[in-house]
């Protein structure tokens, strides 16, 4: 195989001017290289590491909750004493603390872990390589996005130490509860303003990069599917996030300046009438929140689909089946995701017409997902399937996303949602899409691109162990949630439903699910070990260890990979997945290699 990029230096680009680009060709200082780096690869890694830490942190918050759900009101073992007297006197979690954990688990997982991983890390690192760009279009802005994200994360973390603790009104922060909540909510809102700003800068950068910096010959229909998924995702981030930014500002006004945007007249809390002007609308908050948050859930899944598509094409050694329908479906999905949001609000008293509208759009939006999933499934047909670790995670993604997606259908039909809304059924639905869905895709991506990050492969043995244990345990955590949900167990219950009689027949599942969650935690140890061990000791590999066709594998592999990525910008001659071309010796024909 050829590691030499095609020599067509800077075709189509002109570099007329000398300029005093700081540190351009000189040895960069440590700070410029590792901290305030403008290299998209370093920024991608910064995003990745930070977000993995948040993922672990979010998981740990959840483990505390799962302990409480399994054994309500009993002392948290091992770490109970460290949780602080205000939160867990004597190691027993208080309701107030449980609510903080829940709100922060949701917020951290969504905004600080998964989105930064899927978009910040993979998007940043892989995307410019896949389109043959020397960097992102605006490297300094890229650096800024990361640091703004970082500050947002710190604000969220620090909020645990405020009087009254972190935000405790759910990740949805429904008003008026959130408006009258403790100071943690203010920190949450400020944190969100930072996180949203970061996403905006990042997505704008990403779109410009994709449109402007594609290598010669890289037409839109030759883009790897991963790039398409990031492209659509970026538009969702760009246009759906600002309304929540506005809403956060308005909620801040309500909390700090005493306005009443989300406060209706005549509230009477804890035996006292509140002093305020009134006339606001609690449902306005919900509209603005879900206007963001529904597109947001596709932000969580689209990059995952992109990663999975790359890996499936590579490991079936054949082109993706239905690349074009997949691309069109993704665009359509992105577009539709702006007009389904109120399916989260069926129970707020919706009339017939509006609910019919949102039910219809919700059913319509399920079709492109079906098309994408079907295309991926059919892509397997006729392949020569290699079951390496990235492929295992990618394959598992399909039925797991299937379960999550399919359980979205009854929720999308308002009459069926009457019974299921705000029960564990919803929790089960979306965790199937984000945990064994997106997290698995992210694991797959880490195993797959690790050689690009480090020049070494991760251990396959440990990887497979990680996969099988995770697969079993994660289903153990989430499958019983559907049963509990059907039984009518509400979500966000401090005691997991203990005091409700209709919950009694399904209560025993709580222990089972929590045990599976602890098992899931243990199952991550091989991964963490593998991750660090392989950086130093993993098998050394060449630039293109998987025999891949996309041009991220055409540049020499990191660490030598310098700022600028390619010695010469490659020229692209064909579509992204020319695997097993008829009549060729090699079973893959990279995009940048000339010839038939």
């Amino acid at each position: 195989m050829s590691d030499d990029p095609v020599d067509k230096s800077g075709a189509g680009h002109s570099h007329g001017h000398d300029h005093d680009h700081a540190g351009g060709h000189h040895e960069e200082s440590w700070i410029r290289k590792y901290v305030f780096s403008t290299d998209h690869k370093m920024i991608g890694l910064q995003y990745g590491i930070t977000a993995l830490c948040f993922l672990l942190f979010g998981f740990c918050l959840m483990l505390l909750m799962r302990w409480q759900l399994a054994y309500p009101g009993s002392v948290v073992p091992l770490i109970g004493g460290w949780l602080g007297e205000a939160n867990a006197p004597g190691g027993i979690i208080l309701p107030a603390f449980y609510n903080q954990l829940g709100a922060m688990h949701g917020t951290i997982m969504v905004f600080l872990a998964i989105v930064p991983l899927a978009v910040g890390a993979f998007g940043n690192y892989v995307l410019p390589l896949q389109i043959g760009a020397p960097d992102m279009a605006f490297p300094k802005l890229n650096m800024m996005s990361y640091w703004v994200y970082f500050v947002g994360g710190i604000v969220m973390l620090v909020s645990f130490f405020l009087p009254g603790g972190a935000a405790n009104s759910g990740w949805t922060s429904y008003a008026p509860l959130s408006v009258i909540a403790t100071t943690g909510q203010t920190a949450w809102l400020f944190g969100m303003v930072f996180l949203i700003t970061s996403s905006l800068l990042g997505s704008m950068n990403m779109i410009v990069t994709i449109i402007q910096l594609r290598a010669p010959g890289m037409t839109f229909m030759r883009l790897p599917f991963f790039v398409w998924s990031q492209f659509v995702t970026s538009f969702l981030l760009l246009l759906a996030f600002p309304p929540l930014e506005a809403a956060s500002v308005m909620q801040l006004m309500d909390r700090l300046a005493g306005s009443s945007f989300f406060m209706p007249s005549g509230l009477f809390v804890s035996g006292q009438a509140l002093e305020y002007a009134g006339g606001g609308s609690p449902l306005l908050w919900q509209h603005l929140f879900w206007f963001l948050a529904h597109p947001e859930v596709y932000v969580l899944i689209l990059p995952a689909m992109g990663i999975v598509a790359e890996i499936i094409a590579n490991n079936t050694r054949k082109p993706l089946w239905g690349y074009k329908p997949m691309v069109y479906s993704t665009i359509f999905l992105g577009f539709m995701s702006f007009i389904v949001w109120a399916h989260h609000m069926f129970m707020t008293g919706m009339g017939t017409v509006i609910s019919a509208f949102f039910q219809t759009t919700t059913m319509i939006i399920s079709i492109p997902s079906v098309v994408i999933l079907t295309a991926l499934l059919i892509s397997l047909w006729g392949g020569s399937i290699r079951f390496n670790t990235p492929m295992l995670f990618s394959l598992a993604f399909l039925p797991m996303f299937g379960i999550g997606g399919l359980t979205g259908l009854p929720l999308g039909l308002a009459p069926a949602d009457i019974h299921l809304h705000d029960t564990y059924y919803v929790i089960g639905h979306f965790h199937y899409v984000v945990a064994p869905g997106t997290i698995f895709a992210i694991f797959a991506g880490i195993y797959y691109w690790f050689p690009k990050f480090t020049g070494r492969k991760m251990s396959e043995g440990l990887g497979k162990l990680h996969f099988w244990l995770s697969f079993i345990f994660i289903n153990g955590v989430f499958a019983p949630m559907f049963i509990q949900g059907l039984a009518g167990v509400s979500r966000r219950l401090y005691d997991g439903g203990l005091s409700y009689s209709h919950a009694q027949p399904v209560l025993h599942w709580n222990v089972f699910m929590s045990m599976a969650a602890f098992g899931l935690f243990l199952a991550q140890l091989p991964f963490v070990f593998n991750f660090f061990w392989s950086m130093k000791k993993g098998e050394k590999v060449g630039s293109n260890p998987w025999g891949a066709t996309t041009i991220d594998w055409a540049c020499t592999t990191s660490p030598p990979l310098g700022h600028g990525n390619f010695e010469h910008i490659p020229t692209v001659y064909r579509g992204p997945y020319e695997y097993s071309p008829p009549g060729a010796d090699d079973d893959f024909l990279p995009q940048h290699v000339p010839g038939s």
Binding site: G24, D135, A137, M204, Q212, S260, Y276
Partner: protein
Amino acid sequence: MQIPYNEEPRPDTGLYNAKLGIWLFLASEVMLFGALFSSYILLRTGNPDWHQEELDVVLATINTLFLITSSVTVVFAWMALRLNDFAKFKLYLWLTMALAGAFLVVKYFEYSAEFEHHLYPSSNNFMATYFTMTGLHGIHILGGMVVFGYLLGPGAKMWKSEPERFTNRIEVAGLYWHFVDLVWIFLFPSLYLL
């Protein structure tokens, strides 16, 4: 390393990077202010006891004229650069800064007068909307001034090294500035006149 299309437009899109970037940014700004306008309409139509305060139309009209004028000066600054007239450019951009400053000063007096009449965001939802929208708009003005300040100060060096790119920067900053003007054009009647 050099990022392509910082100066010259990419042939197939006809755009240089920052131009596309700023329009995307403005698109997100449309959604930001859109959400506020949406809230304003929803709260106002949904509340039978809505109370619209009388605001100072004269000051707001003056401010509107300031902003419109500053939009002209900023395009003139850009034109001056294209004619290679750096001195004129500086003059026009300083003028823009001055007009923006004047806008904020007037706004300051407006706010003080409102506080004196005991009108705060907590008074009613009209005042809350008013302060939030004009406040956010004011922050955008301030942001614009910071950008112009940079382009007149340390950023001006680029005129020597990469004049094309510098001219582009001015165009892009101008686009942002016109947008801020445009938002005001809608804020003015919705808050002061209706």
